[in-house]
Symmetry: C2
DNA sequence: AATTTAATTTGTCATTCGATAAATAAGCAA
DNA sequence: TTGCTTATTTATCGAATGACAAATTAAATT
Protein backbone atom coordinates (compact mmCIF):
# COMPACT_ATOMS: atom_id res chain seq x y z
CA UNK A 1 0.00 0.00 0.00
CA UNK A 2 3.08 2.28 0.09
CA UNK A 3 2.95 4.67 -2.81
CA UNK A 4 6.03 4.63 -5.07
CA UNK A 5 7.36 8.09 -4.34
CA UNK A 6 10.43 7.61 -6.51
CA UNK A 7 9.16 9.04 -9.82
CA UNK A 8 11.23 12.17 -10.13
CA UNK A 9 10.19 13.59 -13.48
CA UNK A 10 6.47 13.17 -12.84
CA UNK A 11 5.64 14.24 -9.32
CA UNK A 12 2.31 12.80 -8.18
CA UNK A 13 1.14 16.27 -7.31
CA UNK A 14 -1.84 17.64 -9.15
CA UNK A 15 -0.89 18.98 -12.54
CA UNK A 16 -2.23 22.45 -13.09
CA UNK A 17 -4.42 22.69 -16.16
CA UNK A 18 -5.01 25.90 -18.02
CA UNK A 19 -7.97 27.82 -16.74
CA UNK A 20 -10.01 27.09 -19.85
CA UNK A 21 -9.19 23.38 -19.79
CA UNK A 22 -10.15 23.12 -16.15
CA UNK A 23 -13.41 24.90 -16.91
CA UNK A 24 -14.14 22.44 -19.69
CA UNK A 25 -13.38 19.57 -17.36
CA UNK A 26 -15.88 20.97 -14.88
CA UNK A 27 -18.50 21.25 -17.62
CA UNK A 28 -17.96 17.69 -18.76
CA UNK A 29 -18.35 16.32 -15.27
CA UNK A 30 -21.32 18.59 -14.69
CA UNK A 31 -22.99 16.94 -17.69
CA UNK A 32 -22.64 13.55 -16.02
CA UNK A 33 -23.75 14.90 -12.67
CA UNK A 34 -26.82 16.84 -13.77
CA UNK A 35 -27.81 14.11 -16.22
CA UNK A 36 -27.97 11.63 -13.38
CA UNK A 37 -29.26 13.82 -10.56
CA UNK A 38 -31.30 16.45 -12.39
CA UNK A 39 -30.74 20.16 -12.58
CA UNK A 40 -32.32 20.71 -9.16
CA UNK A 41 -29.40 18.94 -7.54
CA UNK A 42 -27.03 20.96 -5.45
CA UNK A 43 -23.79 22.61 -6.43
CA UNK A 44 -22.31 20.99 -3.33
CA UNK A 45 -23.11 17.56 -4.75
CA UNK A 46 -21.41 18.50 -7.99
CA UNK A 47 -18.37 19.88 -6.15
CA UNK A 48 -18.07 16.61 -4.24
CA UNK A 49 -18.03 14.71 -7.52
CA UNK A 50 -15.37 17.08 -8.84
CA UNK A 51 -13.29 16.65 -5.68
CA UNK A 52 -13.27 20.35 -4.91
CA UNK A 53 -15.16 22.65 -2.59
CA UNK A 54 -18.40 24.24 -3.62
CA UNK A 55 -17.34 27.92 -3.70
CA UNK A 56 -14.66 27.07 -6.26
CA UNK A 57 -17.37 26.59 -8.85
CA UNK A 58 -18.15 30.27 -8.58
CA UNK A 59 -14.64 31.15 -9.74
CA UNK A 60 -15.37 29.43 -13.06
CA UNK A 61 -19.10 30.13 -13.43
CA UNK A 62 -20.92 33.23 -12.21
CA UNK A 63 -24.00 31.27 -11.19
CA UNK A 64 -25.53 27.83 -11.20
CA UNK A 65 -27.77 28.80 -14.10
CA UNK A 66 -24.77 29.88 -16.12
CA UNK A 67 -23.15 26.50 -15.52
CA UNK A 68 -26.33 24.79 -16.63
CA UNK A 69 -26.35 26.86 -19.80
CA UNK A 70 -22.84 25.68 -20.54
CA UNK A 71 -24.03 22.11 -20.08
CA UNK A 72 -26.87 22.68 -22.54
CA UNK A 73 -24.49 24.15 -25.06
CA UNK A 74 -22.04 21.27 -24.78
CA UNK A 75 -24.79 18.70 -25.20
CA UNK A 76 -27.14 20.25 -27.72
CA UNK A 77 -24.91 22.30 -29.97
CA UNK A 78 -21.54 20.60 -29.96
CA UNK A 79 -22.79 17.08 -30.53
CA UNK A 80 -24.74 17.97 -33.67
CA UNK A 81 -22.87 16.89 -36.79
CA UNK A 82 -23.44 19.04 -39.89
CA UNK A 83 -22.57 16.16 -42.20
CA UNK A 84 -25.82 14.42 -41.30
CA UNK A 85 -27.89 16.47 -43.72
CA UNK A 86 -25.69 15.93 -46.82
CA UNK A 87 -25.66 12.23 -45.95
CA UNK A 88 -29.44 12.21 -46.23
CA UNK A 89 -29.30 14.16 -49.49
CA UNK A 90 -26.77 11.92 -51.23
CA UNK A 91 -28.82 10.75 -54.21
CA UNK A 92 -26.20 8.28 -55.39
CA UNK A 93 -27.69 5.79 -52.92
CA UNK A 94 -31.24 4.51 -52.40
CA UNK A 95 -33.07 6.50 -49.73
CA UNK A 96 -33.62 3.46 -47.54
CA UNK A 97 -29.84 2.92 -47.43
CA UNK A 98 -29.22 6.54 -46.55
CA UNK A 99 -31.82 6.39 -43.80
CA UNK A 100 -30.27 3.29 -42.30
CA UNK A 101 -26.82 4.87 -42.31
CA UNK A 102 -28.09 8.15 -40.96
CA UNK A 103 -30.04 6.66 -38.07
CA UNK A 104 -27.11 4.43 -37.26
CA UNK A 105 -24.73 7.36 -36.83
CA UNK A 106 -27.37 9.67 -35.38
CA UNK A 107 -28.27 7.21 -32.66
CA UNK A 108 -24.57 6.57 -32.06
CA UNK A 109 -24.39 10.27 -31.21
CA UNK A 110 -27.46 10.62 -29.00
CA UNK A 111 -28.09 7.14 -27.57
CA UNK A 112 -26.14 7.63 -24.40
CA UNK A 113 -27.52 8.10 -20.95
CA UNK A 114 -26.15 11.61 -20.44
CA UNK A 115 -27.45 13.06 -23.69
CA UNK A 116 -30.92 11.59 -23.36
CA UNK A 117 -31.41 12.54 -19.73
CA UNK A 118 -30.18 16.08 -20.30
CA UNK A 119 -32.56 16.29 -23.24
CA UNK A 120 -35.54 15.06 -21.23
CA UNK A 121 -34.76 17.21 -18.19
CA UNK A 122 -34.33 20.34 -20.27
CA UNK A 123 -37.46 19.58 -22.26
CA UNK A 124 -39.48 19.44 -19.06
CA UNK A 125 -37.98 22.76 -18.00
CA UNK A 126 -39.12 24.22 -21.31
CA UNK A 127 -35.82 25.92 -22.05
CA UNK A 128 -35.51 27.66 -25.36
CA UNK A 129 -32.61 25.57 -26.61
CA UNK A 130 -34.85 22.54 -26.52
CA UNK A 131 -37.37 24.14 -28.87
CA UNK A 132 -34.60 25.23 -31.20
CA UNK A 133 -33.28 21.68 -31.27
CA UNK A 134 -36.69 20.38 -32.33
CA UNK A 135 -36.79 22.90 -35.15
CA UNK A 136 -33.31 21.82 -36.20
CA UNK A 137 -34.43 18.21 -36.39
CA UNK A 138 -37.40 19.18 -38.51
CA UNK A 139 -35.45 21.38 -40.92
CA UNK A 140 -32.25 19.36 -41.24
CA UNK A 141 -33.57 15.82 -40.97
CA UNK A 142 -37.30 15.35 -41.41
CA UNK A 143 -38.04 17.77 -44.25
CA UNK A 144 -34.99 16.59 -46.22
CA UNK A 145 -36.24 13.04 -45.82
CA UNK A 146 -39.60 14.03 -47.31
CA UNK A 147 -37.98 15.88 -50.20
CA UNK A 148 -35.77 12.89 -50.93
CA UNK A 149 -38.73 10.56 -50.73
CA UNK A 150 -40.63 12.52 -53.34
CA UNK A 151 -37.62 12.34 -55.64
CA UNK A 152 -37.27 8.62 -54.99
CA UNK A 153 -40.91 8.04 -55.89
CA UNK A 154 -40.74 10.30 -58.95
CA UNK A 155 -43.19 12.82 -57.54
CA UNK A 156 -43.16 16.56 -58.26
CA UNK A 157 -41.02 18.75 -56.00
CA UNK A 158 -43.53 20.46 -53.73
CA UNK A 159 -42.81 21.53 -50.14
CA UNK A 160 -43.67 18.96 -47.46
CA UNK A 161 -47.12 19.23 -45.92
CA UNK A 162 -47.57 19.49 -42.17
CA UNK A 163 -49.14 16.08 -41.83
CA UNK A 164 -46.30 14.57 -43.86
CA UNK A 165 -43.75 16.05 -41.51
CA UNK A 166 -45.73 14.68 -38.58
CA UNK A 167 -45.68 11.27 -40.19
CA UNK A 168 -41.89 11.24 -40.37
CA UNK A 169 -41.78 12.69 -36.85
CA UNK A 170 -43.63 9.62 -35.58
CA UNK A 171 -40.99 7.29 -36.93
CA UNK A 172 -38.20 9.56 -35.72
CA UNK A 173 -39.83 9.84 -32.31
CA UNK A 174 -40.36 6.11 -32.18
CA UNK A 175 -36.66 5.49 -32.75
CA UNK A 176 -35.78 8.15 -30.18
CA UNK A 177 -38.17 6.61 -27.70
CA UNK A 178 -36.53 3.23 -28.26
CA UNK A 179 -33.37 4.87 -26.93
CA UNK A 180 -35.26 6.22 -23.94
CA UNK A 181 -36.61 2.77 -23.15
CA UNK A 182 -33.20 1.21 -23.56
CA UNK A 183 -31.05 3.73 -21.71
CA UNK A 184 -33.35 5.39 -19.20
CA UNK A 185 -36.29 3.14 -18.48
CA UNK A 186 -34.11 0.09 -19.13
CA UNK A 187 -37.18 -1.64 -20.44
CA UNK A 188 -36.08 -2.39 -24.00
CA UNK A 189 -36.24 -6.11 -24.65
CA UNK A 190 -34.08 -6.14 -27.75
CA UNK A 191 -30.77 -4.35 -27.73
CA UNK A 192 -30.14 -4.93 -31.43
CA UNK A 193 -30.28 -1.26 -32.32
CA UNK A 194 -29.57 -1.69 -36.02
CA UNK A 195 -32.34 -4.24 -36.35
CA UNK A 196 -34.86 -1.94 -34.68
CA UNK A 197 -33.81 0.91 -36.97
CA UNK A 198 -33.97 -1.24 -40.09
CA UNK A 199 -37.50 -2.42 -39.29
CA UNK A 200 -38.65 1.11 -38.52
CA UNK A 201 -37.28 2.36 -41.83
CA UNK A 202 -38.93 -0.44 -43.74
CA UNK A 203 -42.27 0.63 -42.32
CA UNK A 204 -41.46 4.31 -42.87
CA UNK A 205 -40.70 3.75 -46.55
CA UNK A 206 -43.83 1.69 -47.03
CA UNK A 207 -45.90 4.31 -45.26
CA UNK A 208 -44.33 7.16 -47.20
CA UNK A 209 -45.08 5.49 -50.50
CA UNK A 210 -48.72 5.13 -49.51
CA UNK A 211 -49.00 8.57 -48.00
CA UNK A 212 -47.18 10.61 -50.64
CA UNK A 213 -49.10 8.94 -53.46
CA UNK A 214 -52.40 9.13 -51.61
CA UNK A 215 -55.12 11.14 -53.36
CA UNK A 216 -56.89 13.11 -50.69
CA UNK A 217 -54.56 15.15 -48.52
CA UNK A 218 -55.16 18.46 -46.76
CA UNK B 1 -69.11 43.31 -4.10
CA UNK B 2 -71.53 42.50 -1.25
CA UNK B 3 -71.87 38.77 -0.95
CA UNK B 4 -75.46 37.53 -1.06
CA UNK B 5 -75.74 36.30 2.49
CA UNK B 6 -79.40 35.44 2.16
CA UNK B 7 -79.15 31.82 1.20
CA UNK B 8 -80.28 30.18 4.38
CA UNK B 9 -80.02 26.49 3.61
CA UNK B 10 -76.58 26.85 1.98
CA UNK B 11 -74.37 29.26 3.89
CA UNK B 12 -71.45 30.56 1.79
CA UNK B 13 -69.05 29.40 4.46
CA UNK B 14 -66.57 26.75 3.55
CA UNK B 15 -68.31 23.44 3.22
CA UNK B 16 -66.55 20.79 5.15
CA UNK B 17 -65.70 17.82 3.00
CA UNK B 18 -65.24 14.38 4.38
CA UNK B 19 -61.68 13.65 5.33
CA UNK B 20 -61.24 11.24 2.46
CA UNK B 21 -62.74 13.64 -0.08
CA UNK B 22 -60.46 16.44 1.07
CA UNK B 23 -57.50 14.13 0.81
CA UNK B 24 -58.49 13.25 -2.72
CA UNK B 25 -58.84 16.92 -3.56
CA UNK B 26 -55.33 17.51 -2.27
CA UNK B 27 -54.03 14.66 -4.39
CA UNK B 28 -55.72 15.97 -7.52
CA UNK B 29 -54.27 19.41 -7.06
CA UNK B 30 -50.91 17.91 -6.20
CA UNK B 31 -50.97 16.18 -9.58
CA UNK B 32 -51.32 19.55 -11.30
CA UNK B 33 -48.71 21.13 -9.09
CA UNK B 34 -45.99 18.48 -9.34
CA UNK B 35 -46.69 17.96 -13.04
CA UNK B 36 -45.92 21.60 -13.69
CA UNK B 37 -43.17 22.24 -11.14
CA UNK B 38 -41.54 18.85 -10.78
CA UNK B 39 -41.32 16.63 -7.75
CA UNK B 40 -38.44 18.65 -6.31
CA UNK B 41 -40.77 21.57 -5.72
CA UNK B 42 -41.61 22.52 -2.19
CA UNK B 43 -44.54 21.47 -0.07
CA UNK B 44 -44.97 25.16 0.75
CA UNK B 45 -45.53 25.91 -2.92
CA UNK B 46 -48.15 23.17 -3.07
CA UNK B 47 -49.83 24.43 0.09
CA UNK B 48 -50.02 27.90 -1.41
CA UNK B 49 -51.77 26.47 -4.47
CA UNK B 50 -54.16 24.62 -2.19
CA UNK B 51 -54.85 27.79 -0.18
CA UNK B 52 -53.80 26.20 3.09
CA UNK B 53 -50.73 26.25 5.27
CA UNK B 54 -47.90 23.83 4.72
CA UNK B 55 -48.13 21.83 7.97
CA UNK B 56 -51.70 20.90 7.13
CA UNK B 57 -50.39 18.59 4.42
CA UNK B 58 -48.83 16.48 7.15
CA UNK B 59 -52.23 15.79 8.63
CA UNK B 60 -53.25 14.05 5.41
CA UNK B 61 -49.94 12.59 4.29
CA UNK B 62 -47.17 11.33 6.58
CA UNK B 63 -44.42 12.64 4.30
CA UNK B 64 -43.79 14.32 1.01
CA UNK B 65 -42.74 11.01 -0.51
CA UNK B 66 -45.99 9.44 0.58
CA UNK B 67 -47.91 12.23 -1.13
CA UNK B 68 -45.88 11.70 -4.29
CA UNK B 69 -46.69 7.99 -4.18
CA UNK B 70 -50.37 8.86 -4.05
CA UNK B 71 -49.88 11.06 -7.09
CA UNK B 72 -48.23 8.20 -8.96
CA UNK B 73 -51.04 5.89 -8.04
CA UNK B 74 -53.73 8.29 -9.19
CA UNK B 75 -52.01 8.89 -12.49
CA UNK B 76 -50.61 5.50 -13.40
CA UNK B 77 -53.06 3.04 -11.97
CA UNK B 78 -56.41 4.77 -11.91
CA UNK B 79 -56.31 6.11 -15.45
CA UNK B 80 -55.67 2.72 -16.99
CA UNK B 81 -58.86 1.33 -18.54
CA UNK B 82 -59.14 -2.46 -18.54
CA UNK B 83 -61.48 -2.41 -21.53
CA UNK B 84 -58.62 -1.38 -23.79
CA UNK B 85 -57.34 -4.93 -24.16
CA UNK B 86 -60.68 -6.55 -25.13
CA UNK B 87 -61.15 -3.72 -27.61
CA UNK B 88 -57.91 -4.73 -29.30
CA UNK B 89 -58.94 -8.40 -29.24
CA UNK B 90 -62.39 -7.91 -30.76
CA UNK B 91 -62.05 -10.00 -33.92
CA UNK B 92 -65.39 -8.92 -35.33
CA UNK B 93 -63.62 -5.85 -36.73
CA UNK B 94 -60.53 -5.47 -38.94
CA UNK B 95 -57.38 -4.93 -36.88
CA UNK B 96 -56.67 -1.55 -38.47
CA UNK B 97 -60.08 -0.34 -37.30
CA UNK B 98 -59.48 -1.62 -33.79
CA UNK B 99 -56.08 0.05 -33.68
CA UNK B 100 -57.54 3.38 -34.76
CA UNK B 101 -60.24 3.18 -32.13
CA UNK B 102 -57.83 2.05 -29.45
CA UNK B 103 -55.26 4.76 -30.05
CA UNK B 104 -58.01 7.33 -30.23
CA UNK B 105 -59.30 6.48 -26.75
CA UNK B 106 -55.86 5.68 -25.34
CA UNK B 107 -54.49 9.05 -26.36
CA UNK B 108 -57.65 10.70 -25.07
CA UNK B 109 -56.67 9.23 -21.70
CA UNK B 110 -52.97 10.09 -21.65
CA UNK B 111 -52.59 13.11 -23.94
CA UNK B 112 -52.91 15.74 -21.30
CA UNK B 113 -50.16 17.85 -19.87
CA UNK B 114 -50.41 16.49 -16.32
CA UNK B 115 -50.27 12.82 -17.26
CA UNK B 116 -47.37 13.18 -19.65
CA UNK B 117 -45.27 15.37 -17.40
CA UNK B 118 -45.82 13.11 -14.39
CA UNK B 119 -44.87 10.17 -16.59
CA UNK B 120 -41.67 11.83 -17.80
CA UNK B 121 -40.67 13.11 -14.37
CA UNK B 122 -41.22 9.73 -12.74
CA UNK B 123 -39.41 7.97 -15.56
CA UNK B 124 -36.34 10.10 -14.96
CA UNK B 125 -36.52 9.31 -11.27
CA UNK B 126 -36.54 5.62 -12.16
CA UNK B 127 -39.38 4.77 -9.82
CA UNK B 128 -40.65 1.22 -9.89
CA UNK B 129 -44.18 2.09 -10.94
CA UNK B 130 -42.81 3.45 -14.19
CA UNK B 131 -41.18 0.15 -15.07
CA UNK B 132 -44.35 -1.70 -14.18
CA UNK B 133 -46.33 0.58 -16.45
CA UNK B 134 -44.02 -0.21 -19.36
CA UNK B 135 -44.54 -3.92 -18.75
CA UNK B 136 -48.28 -3.35 -18.66
CA UNK B 137 -48.15 -1.63 -22.04
CA UNK B 138 -46.20 -4.51 -23.48
CA UNK B 139 -48.41 -7.25 -22.09
CA UNK B 140 -51.82 -5.61 -22.52
CA UNK B 141 -51.31 -3.62 -25.70
CA UNK B 142 -48.29 -4.51 -27.79
CA UNK B 143 -48.28 -8.29 -27.52
CA UNK B 144 -52.05 -8.50 -28.12
CA UNK B 145 -51.54 -6.37 -31.24
CA UNK B 146 -48.97 -8.86 -32.55
CA UNK B 147 -51.17 -11.83 -31.78
CA UNK B 148 -54.10 -10.20 -33.57
CA UNK B 149 -51.90 -9.31 -36.51
CA UNK B 150 -50.85 -12.92 -36.97
CA UNK B 151 -54.50 -13.96 -36.95
CA UNK B 152 -55.35 -11.20 -39.42
CA UNK B 153 -52.62 -12.36 -41.78
CA UNK B 154 -53.54 -16.04 -41.37
CA UNK B 155 -50.25 -16.93 -39.75
CA UNK B 156 -49.73 -19.68 -37.13
CA UNK B 157 -50.23 -18.72 -33.50
CA UNK B 158 -46.70 -18.48 -32.11
CA UNK B 159 -45.65 -16.15 -29.30
CA UNK B 160 -44.35 -12.73 -30.40
CA UNK B 161 -40.61 -12.43 -30.87
CA UNK B 162 -38.61 -9.75 -29.10
CA UNK B 163 -37.84 -7.82 -32.25
CA UNK B 164 -41.51 -7.93 -33.23
CA UNK B 165 -42.48 -6.38 -29.92
CA UNK B 166 -39.84 -3.72 -30.42
CA UNK B 167 -41.26 -2.99 -33.83
CA UNK B 168 -44.71 -2.29 -32.39
CA UNK B 169 -43.05 -0.37 -29.57
CA UNK B 170 -41.55 2.03 -32.12
CA UNK B 171 -44.96 2.91 -33.51
CA UNK B 172 -46.44 3.14 -30.02
CA UNK B 173 -43.54 5.29 -28.86
CA UNK B 174 -43.83 7.46 -31.93
CA UNK B 175 -47.47 8.18 -31.17
CA UNK B 176 -46.61 8.81 -27.53
CA UNK B 177 -43.83 11.13 -28.54
CA UNK B 178 -46.23 13.03 -30.77
CA UNK B 179 -48.14 13.80 -27.58
CA UNK B 180 -44.93 14.93 -25.89
CA UNK B 181 -44.17 17.27 -28.76
CA UNK B 182 -47.69 18.61 -28.77
CA UNK B 183 -48.30 19.04 -25.06
CA UNK B 184 -44.87 19.54 -23.51
CA UNK B 185 -42.45 20.77 -26.13
CA UNK B 186 -45.31 22.52 -27.93
CA UNK B 187 -43.51 21.83 -31.16
CA UNK B 188 -46.10 19.72 -32.97
CA UNK B 189 -47.04 21.36 -36.24
CA UNK B 190 -50.23 19.42 -36.85
CA UNK B 191 -52.78 19.11 -34.08
CA UNK B 192 -54.97 16.70 -36.03
CA UNK B 193 -54.42 13.83 -33.64
CA UNK B 194 -56.66 11.34 -35.42
CA UNK B 195 -54.90 11.96 -38.69
CA UNK B 196 -51.47 11.39 -37.14
CA UNK B 197 -52.72 8.18 -35.57
CA UNK B 198 -54.33 6.95 -38.78
CA UNK B 199 -51.13 7.49 -40.77
CA UNK B 200 -49.02 5.78 -38.13
CA UNK B 201 -51.33 2.77 -38.13
CA UNK B 202 -51.26 2.53 -41.91
CA UNK B 203 -47.47 2.29 -41.76
CA UNK B 204 -47.63 -0.11 -38.82
CA UNK B 205 -49.94 -2.49 -40.66
CA UNK B 206 -47.80 -2.34 -43.79
CA UNK B 207 -44.67 -2.93 -41.75
CA UNK B 208 -46.23 -5.78 -39.79
CA UNK B 209 -47.28 -7.55 -42.95
CA UNK B 210 -43.73 -7.36 -44.27
CA UNK B 211 -42.11 -8.25 -40.96
CA UNK B 212 -44.36 -11.12 -39.86
CA UNK B 213 -44.18 -12.77 -43.28
CA UNK B 214 -40.46 -12.16 -43.61
CA UNK B 215 -38.34 -15.32 -43.90
CA UNK B 216 -35.24 -14.73 -41.76
CA UNK B 217 -36.04 -13.67 -38.23
CA UNK B 218 -34.09 -14.28 -35.06
C1' DA C 1 -75.80 26.95 24.57
C1' DA C 2 -72.39 23.82 26.09
C1' DT C 3 -69.29 20.29 24.95
C1' DT C 4 -66.65 17.39 22.10
C1' DT C 5 -64.07 16.46 18.12
C1' DA C 6 -61.70 17.42 14.05
C1' DA C 7 -59.42 20.84 10.97
C1' DT C 8 -56.24 24.42 10.52
C1' DT C 9 -52.77 27.77 11.78
C1' DT C 10 -48.77 29.66 14.35
C1' DG C 11 -44.32 28.99 15.70
C1' DT C 12 -40.19 26.66 15.32
C1' DC C 13 -36.13 23.44 14.46
C1' DA C 14 -32.35 21.37 12.03
C1' DT C 15 -30.70 21.02 7.36
C1' DT C 16 -29.65 22.36 2.99
C1' DC C 17 -29.45 25.70 -0.63
C1' DG C 18 -26.91 29.38 -3.78
C1' DA C 19 -23.78 32.77 -3.13
C1' DT C 20 -20.02 35.98 -1.18
C1' DA C 21 -15.77 37.56 1.31
C1' DA C 22 -11.72 36.66 3.37
C1' DA C 23 -7.92 33.61 4.33
C1' DT C 24 -4.73 30.14 2.75
C1' DA C 25 -2.12 27.23 -0.50
C1' DA C 26 0.17 26.40 -4.64
C1' DG C 27 2.35 27.41 -8.88
C1' DC C 28 5.38 30.67 -11.43
C1' DA C 29 8.94 34.22 -12.49
C1' DA C 30 12.81 36.84 -10.87
C1' DT D 1 15.37 31.78 -2.15
C1' DT D 2 11.88 36.08 -2.80
C1' DG D 3 7.91 38.07 -4.36
C1' DC D 4 3.77 37.91 -7.36
C1' DT D 5 -0.24 35.73 -9.21
C1' DT D 6 -3.67 32.42 -9.44
C1' DA D 7 -6.24 28.47 -7.50
C1' DT D 8 -8.51 26.70 -3.70
C1' DT D 9 -10.41 26.42 0.90
C1' DT D 10 -12.58 28.14 5.20
C1' DA D 11 -16.18 30.52 7.18
C1' DT D 12 -20.41 32.43 6.78
C1' DC D 13 -24.92 34.68 5.29
C1' DG D 14 -29.83 34.79 4.32
C1' DA D 15 -33.35 32.22 2.35
C1' DA D 16 -35.79 27.97 1.65
C1' DT D 17 -36.70 23.22 2.83
C1' DG D 18 -39.22 18.95 5.24
C1' DA D 19 -41.08 18.04 9.42
C1' DC D 20 -43.02 18.46 14.19
C1' DA D 21 -45.62 20.33 18.49
C1' DA D 22 -48.63 23.25 20.39
C1' DA D 23 -52.16 26.65 20.05
C1' DT D 24 -56.26 28.06 17.83
C1' DT D 25 -60.40 27.90 15.16
C1' DA D 26 -64.44 25.81 13.24
C1' DA D 27 -67.72 22.25 12.68
C1' DA D 28 -70.54 18.60 14.71
C1' DT D 29 -73.02 16.66 18.59
C1' DT D 30 -75.42 16.74 22.78
Amino acid sequence: MTQPDIAPNKPPKRKRLSSEARRQDFINQAIEFFAEEGFESSTRGLAKKLGVTQPLLYRYFPSKNNLISEVYDAVYVKRWQPEWEPLLRDRSRPLADRLNTFYKVYTDAIFNREWMRIFLFSGLKGVDINRRYMQLVRQRILEPILIEARVEFGLPDVPPKHCEVEFVWVTHGGIFYYGVRDLIYESAISTDKDRVIADAITALMAGLEIKLNGPKQT
